[in-house]
């Protein structure tokens, strides 16, 4: 049985045959957007939403800050369906062989066997496998593919869809609104606690194929859940784009932990938008690991909208050769007595560039807030760089914000110490790096913690002369 820990990078870099792509044209047009909506048999309001988004996409310019985005939007295939049939498969046996192989390589069945609460995996733009344990369904939990949720729970979707991340937020959110496909819909009713993590595994497959999955998570009053997603994309020659969107609603006294391990292949742009609205005395925790992609721009955002709301942002970013990891966090305190904590650990190696970019904004009415920001960066060799751009705006005098940042190299005296105990240099470095990211890793469930450590070891391999 293969587990995440046994994976090697090659598996992520193999591409399955993608003949089915021939049916779909590259580039963006009104015709394509209509075609997507019709093929999914969407309600009229969603088609209107898509067309409005497309309009906004043409109007809005790319951001004038951050890493260079060298992307030809006409060279991307915006929609593809990997299976000839529609909808989802009820059991593992029904899934076509090559898709199954991919999942098996990624360890999904193994994870399933470990009694995780549910598995929803996105292959290309349609979800082919979705499973939810009966007991949760009986409690009123909805854990569905986004397209299916739109059919089965239209009113619920309509109530929340792109209300947290509006179309006109930025160019990529507009693009997302026009061509989104698949993703996860999770609804947890009042007073329901899901003990085991719910997980979804996303994967892009065909060259030049963008992925625009849309995820909505709603936690009603006093409910608890942990949602996990991991992403990998195979390696291929063309620049691919990933512009997903995650919208989270955490109501009064509810508690959500959202964990993601993003390991897209190194020629993709990962321009993701993730945002949570956090209610009274509710808690939102973001745990993120960014290892892959050529360019990543990702700043999960919490809006602390009611009194006593809390958020934690924990993030690791690893920039290897040719990669730019521009990541961070955004927290808006709009209510009094709200608190936030941001801890990020950035690594850069072999010319990689890691950037912490963050915003903490405390509005005038949000009195007595606290925010602690802690960003550490480790630079593994002289070719690599790291930057920190913390933006702090505090508009009252009763709130307290602390910010600490460190940038350093792997301490040579520490390597000497470990080596003097018989440990090889490479292992010594790995240990120090594992120790550096430990505050984040310990927040992940065991399989994911192992996967993260393993992915970091893979990134470290052959790095020490």
């Amino acid at each position: 049985m293969q587990t995440f820990a046994d994976l090697n990078r090659e598996i992520f870099n193999q591409s399955n045959r993608s003949d089915y792509l021939k049916k779909y044209k590259k580039g963006l047009s009104e015709k394509l957007v209509i075609q997507i909506s019709k093929s999914k048999n969407e309600p009229e309001w969603m088609l209107k939403h898509r067309l409005k988004s497309l309009e906004a996409f043409y109007e809005i310019k790319l951001p004038d800050w951050g890493p260079k985005i060298d992307l030809d939007f006409e060279e991307i295939t915006y929609y593809a369906n990997a299976t000839d049939q529609k909808g989802k498969f009820d059991s593992w046996e029904d899934i076509p062989e090559d898709i199954k192989n991919t999942f098996e390589k990624l360890g999904i069945p193994a994870a399933e066997k470990k009694m995780l609460a549910g598995v929803g995996s996105q292959y290309e733009s349609e979800t082919v496998y979705h499973n939810l344990k009966k007991e949760w369904e009986e409690l009123g939990v909805v854990f569905e593919d986004m397209d299916v949720a739109l059919q089965k729970h239209e009113d619920l979707v309509k109530q929340y869809f792109m209300t947290c991340v509006p179309i006109r937020d930025h160019k990529l959110s507009a693009l997302h609104g026009a061509v989104w496909s698949g993703g996860t819909f999770l609804y947890v009713p009042d007073n329901v606690s899901i003990k085991q993590p719910l997980q979804a595994y996303f994967r892009m497959n065909a060259p030049g194929l963008g992925q625009f999955e849309h995820t909505i998570i709603i936690l009603e009053k006093n409910s608890h859940a942990h949602y996990i997603e991991g992403c990998s994309a195979p390696k291929y020659g063309k620049e691919a784009l990933h512009a997903g969107c995650v919208e989270i609603f955490v109501e009064e006294d509810a508690h959500l932990r959202y964990s993601s391990v993003e390991n897209w292949s190194k020629d993709t742009y990962n321009l993701n938008t993730k945002r949570a609205l956090v209610g009274k005395n509710a808690t939102m925790e973001w745990v993120g690991g960014n290892m892959g992609s050529g360019v990543t721009m990702l700043y999960p955002c919490s809006i602390l909208k009611d009194e006593g709301a809390r958020c934690d942002h924990l993030g690791i970013a690893f920039a290897n050769a040719g990669q730019v990891q521009d990541t961070g966090a955004k927290v808006i305190h709009t209510a009094p007595h709200t608190s936030s904590k941001i801890i990020t650990k950035n690594l850069s190696k072999d010319g990689g560039k890691s950037i912490y970019r963050g915003l903490v904004h405390v509005l005038p009415q949000a009195h007595d807030c606290t925010s602690n920001i802690n960003c550490d960066a480790l630079i593994l060799d002289p070719d690599s760089t790291s930057d920190t751009f913390p933006d702090i705006k505090c508009e009252n005098t009763t709130s307290e914000i602390t910010h600490e940042a460190t940038v350093g190299k792997v301490n040579e005296e520490n390597i000497f110490y470990l080596m003097s105990r018989g440990i090889e240099e490479e292992e010594a470095k790995s240990m120090i790096i594992n120790g550096f990211i430990e505050p984040i890793i310990k927040a992940l469930p065991l399989e994911y913690a192992i996967e993260m450590n393993r992915l970091i070891e893979l990134e470290m391999e052959n790095s020490i002369g």
């Binding site: 000497f416 110490y417 080596m419 003097s420 105990r421 440990i423 090889e424 430990e438």
Partner: protein, 252 residues
């Protein structure tokens, strides 16, 4: 076991060791005394293979073979252990994980986790370390005494042949000093050799070295056997160390 022959080392362009000769046989305890800046710690780190100290002349032999081209971890593998004057703080790595990794790296014998844990717990008890000690990150937030005891615990688990103790006595109160000295004494036998580096006679009262060397300005200026050690215990080593000569700063 260890022969240091006419050893010269430089850090950047400054010469620190200026012709050290030293021979330590299995079963012996040696002590090197001397003031700050005399090169004692440099000698210890050079034997261990620290990259900052370039050997410009001379050689170091372990069991008759030169170790100058060996990497730090290879020297450890051959049985050299250095208890650091300032043990490093490695955040996020549990002491027990570190110890287990080091044990695995160093020896072929892999004791079971249960045996390993038991052995560690027993030794910790002897050293008067709290049971949570090994669950904490390596040396992170440890008191001075805990750090030094942690070094001794590593020695006991890794079972080296040549133990170099760089100021193991600094930062220890009298009880901790006794506990540490007892552990060293118990560890020492006819197959192991110990080199103690210190400023103070105090620890030597417990460990009774066979030989004592006085070092100053990168050289061993006087060596002697037990009698010399006793004399030093009584009178101190200051008499043997030439007063530092320096020029008065020029006044304008």
């Amino acid at each position: 076991m260890l022969i240091v022959k006419n050893l010269h080392t430089k850090i950047n362009s400054t010469e620190i060791l200026r012709g050290i000769n030293l021979e330590i046989k299995a079963g012996e305890i040696h002590a090197i005394m001397g003031p700050n800046g005399s090169g004692k710690s440099t000698l210890a780190k050079t034997i261990m293979g620290h990259h900052n100290f370039k050997v410009t002349k001379g050689n170091i032999f372990l069991n008759k073979k030169s170790i100058l081209n060996d990497k730090v971890c290879e020297r450890a593998g051959k049985g050299i252990f250095l208890a650091f004057q300032h043990p490093r703080e490695i955040s996020g790595i549990k002491f027990s994980t570190f110890l287990r990794t080091a044990q695995k790296a160093k020896s072929d014998k892999t004791s079971s986790v249960i045996d390993f844990n038991k052995e560690v717990k027993d030794k910790m008890k002897d050293l008067h370390l709290s049971p949570e000690f090994t669950d904490r990150a390596v040396n992170t937030g440890f008191s001075g005494g805990e750090k030094k005891k942690g070094e001794i615990l590593q020695m006991q688990i890794l079972e080296p042949k040549l133990v170099i103790l760089d100021e193991i006595d600094s930062g220890l109160d009298i009880d901790a000093l006794k506990q540490v000295a007892k552990a060293i004494k118990e560890y020492h036998n006819e197959n192991t050799a110990i080199l103690i580096i210190t400023h103070y006679q105090r620890i030597l009262e417990y460990l009774h070295p066979d030989y004592v060397h006085v070092m100053t300005n990168g050289k061993i200026i006087k060596s002697g056997n037990k009698d010399f050690a006793k004399e030093l215990e009584k009178n101190g080593y200051a008499n043997y160390v030439a007063p530092t000569s320096y020029k008065l700063p020029a006044t304008s």
